[in-house]
Subunit: 164 residues, 2 copies
């Protein structure tokens, strides 16, 4: 079952968006659709959630969100540059006013000294505003826990960009 | 937390796809990304999961998957025609060899006599094969339960089309 604290957060976020007349789109890599799935668990979410892009492969990041392949090769899929490009790409390719993107090393494999397991980058884009970026190092807390924490952080970043 | 029985099913499905050299893409409406989120909870899923389309709005179904708006208007978003078009659209717009689509009335509102709460349509498309369709009536078991049952059914339909 989806954790209650995330569903409570989603309920609040959806109401905030509804009050502002704002639509949301998501662009997810390591969370693989979990942010969209959490938001859409709340009845009535269809008036806020426009769409979600689960861009798990690099080809998907390029084709669905317009992230340049050379950026992915140079910066890595888990990087500030790529999440910023994902969030902006989702904004340009949806009817949403606000988007959030997530790319990280969920583990248990795939970590390096520079980009350890638990490192997750986030970005939130909003029409006519500067794009926000945040990076978290959740540590080796397990793949599921990294993803749940990422869902919470993604929703919090949308709240932040809406408060500006 | 994601239910263990779904994670077990996902693990088996991913291994089946790996053995066949098959990539998957998802096209989700009422499950809102939950199928993709379940598959990608399994470590190593990136060699099987290409991408996912969370097409919650009708605009998203048209723009991301090429579902004709007049089909949605005539048949309804929850219909055999629309899930078939969603699955074929995902196949044409991804690097996947197999896709699955889901559209249903998760509830608690939105049900009608003809399309009651708990009615969910599924389709699976595979390169060079006929597209499969299945409809389930899960009943008024609650929004979360309709979605979990739909995730299981979607994975089962991929297993079916792979077995043909």
């Amino acid at each position: 079952m989806l954790p209650d604290f995330l569903l409570d957060q989603a309920t609040g976020l959806l109401q905030l968006c509804r009050d502002r007349g704002v639509m949301i789109a998501t662009a997810e890599s390591c969370t693989g659709g979990l942010v969209a799935a959490t938001l859409t668990q709340i009845a009535g979410s269809s008036d806020v959630v426009d769409r979600g892009f689960v861009t798990y492969s690099n080809a998907a990041k390029r084709e669905l969100l317009g992230v340049p392949l050379d950026m992915i090769e140079q910066e890595g899929a888990v990087s500030e540059a790529v999440v910023r490009a994902m969030a902006k790409g989702a904004l340009a390719r949806s009817k949403a006013d606000v988007t959030v993107s997530i790319s990280g090393v969920a583990g248990p494999g795939g970590g390096t000294a520079e980009k350890p397991v638990g490192l997750v980058h986030f970005a939130a884009a909003r029409t006519g505003r500067p794009t926000l970026h945040r990076a978290c190092r959740f540590g080796e807390v397990g793949r599921a826990e990294v993803r749940w924490k990422s869902v919470a952080e993604a929703m919090a970043l949308i709240e932040t960009i809406l408060a500006e």
